[in-house]
Amino acid sequence: MIAKLGKDRGKRETAQAIAFSVLTLASLVAFFALALILYIIISKGVGALSWEFLSQLPRKGMTEGWIYPMILGSFYLTAGALVSALPFGIASAIWLAEYAGGGLWVRTIRIGVNTLAGVPSIVFGLLGLAFFVNVLGLGASLLSGAFTLGVLILPILIRASEEALRAVPNEFREGALALGATRWRAVRTVVLPTAIPGIMTGAILGIGRAIGETAPILFTAAAIYKTRLPDTLYETLTSRTMALPTHIFYMATENPRGWEAKDLQFGAALVLLGLVLIMNLGAVTWRARVRRRKEW
């Protein structure tokens, strides 16, 4: 009887070992995918990097020259997206977290927000084309693109802000209300300031998402090639703009001489990837720092 206890130990251990290796391998796949992307982009793109590459205009049908306008365009688009979406994001998060309760209407809106997060980005592009470009008559312009990206990152902003608001201890609200503050006053002066770091994390993640999106700006804002920078703010906002992701797309597909400038393409991809990684890393470290400093 006792001797039998160890009888199928070998079999069990084999099963364990197989399971362990399969699971480990599966997790390594994700890691290798990232490592591969980084390797290809860096090894092929790093040669193109230089201060001129980042700071000057493209030339000769983009087969020579640099990507300064694309970086600038991406920056404007992303900043515009954040500026236009953040107020709506924070406002709806406050409504969801502080006022709404749990009725049918609220559940519907919450499902809506979550669904919005899953809508393919090309659909946002079409929405932007239909609504901002045509209905609002903004034309294909930086504004239309920024607004479209704003709608795209809205769910990210709402979710992050709502989470941040819910993480604020109820005692703070009670304390403020017990002093005769109205609900809005309590939210404005105690709850929201406490939630700001969390909301900022969401904003940085939103920027990281918006800066890399191609499809939403393809029909709404992107120019294939512009030889000069716009002169005025008005012109900047109302004309098409070049941007990093669409530049990479056009060079790879639309530009018949794109192959002549392969290393420039990879250089642009490297810059874009770098920006996204910096944003995400920034969000993660910021969040960790805030959590460490938290006093309650």
Partner: protein
């Protein structure tokens, strides 16, 4: 909501005087057949009780949540909890409190919570919060009221050199006294204290109890406690709630402790249950 207090809010003493002139001998808070529900669960059953203007009134209960609920009926804080509902009548200086504007009401009836809950702001900003909410803008006036409130909460000497420090740099007992100062800064007529020492060590508890006794000279204090000794030490009157949220006994602390009328209260006081 209490119009009469408006005409004399310059110092709490004159408000007090006004109340004394007009309400002397009458209770400041009165409940009449007050029942309370969380959804379908009844937390309080037909409570009729008068909180006298002077002294400390303690509310005791061996277990359950009735005592905190009763306290939260006095400043309508229960409305924050989903499905909470009060039935019956509660009056403050003769006015129906359940029909009053809760925001205005809480200016007159302050509250200190079970766990110290300072805001993540500086010590100064914590105390100045209430006055700011009620429209005080002048820096000098704010400074004055912050200082006097901290004095009254017996915290001034410990924090006078570090008013700009975060409230979380204080110890638990200090934080609780800061919360008392914060509540006092809006000059309430009544201070509700919900087991204010339950998260504190004995030394900090002593200090809070001492402060409570001193405060009772200037305003009405209602304190909830599950601690018999504490009720004995701080209160002038005591209400004992029993299972089911029923008021078993209410009267001067001394006579309730020495000669309880209700047998269950006698058992409770002898430590036979609870």
């Amino acid at each position: 909501m209490v119009d009469a207090t408006k005409e004399s809010t310059r110092t709490e003493l004159s408000t007090r005087e006004w109340i004394r002139r007009n309400f002397d001998g009458r209770p400041i808070i009165e409940t009449e057949d007050l029942s309370f529900y969380y959804g379908k669960d009844r937390a309080l059953r037909g409570i009729s009780l008068s909180v006298p203007l002077d002294g400390v009134t303690a509310i005791m209960e061996p277990s359950g949540c009735g005592k905190s609920t009763l306290l939260r009926a006095f400043n309508r804080m229960y409305e924050l909890y989903h499905g909470a509902r009060a039935e019956g009548r509660v009056t403050f200086l003769g006015q129906d409190l359940l029909k009053a504007d809760p925001v205005a009401l809480r200016r007159h009836i302050g509250m200190v919570f079970q766990r110290p809950n300072p805001f993540p702001k500086s010590i100064f900003e914590n105390v100045a919060y209430g006055p700011r909410v009620h429209g005080m803008r002048k820096r000098s006036a704010l400074k004055e009221i912050v200082e006097s409130s901290l004095h009254r909460a017996a915290l001034w000497d410990e924090v006078k050199d570090r008013l700009k420090d975060s409230a979380f740099s204080l110890s638990g007992g200090q934080q609780q006294r800061l919360c008392i100062a914060r509540a006092l800064a809006v000059r309430p007529e009544v201070l509700l204290m919900d087991e204010p020492c339950s998260a504190l060590d004995p030394k900090a508890t002593d200090k809070i109890e001492e402060t409570t006794r001193e405060l009772a000279e200037e305003l009405t204090v209602v304190i909830v406690t599950h601690n018999l000794q504490q009720a004995g030490r701080v209160s002038d009157n005591v209400a004992v709630l029993l299972a089911g949220g029923e008021l078993a006994e209410f009267g001067p602390t001394r006579s309730v402790f020495e000669n309880p009328q209700d047998e269950r209260v006698a058992d409770y006081l002898c430590g036979r249950f609870g």
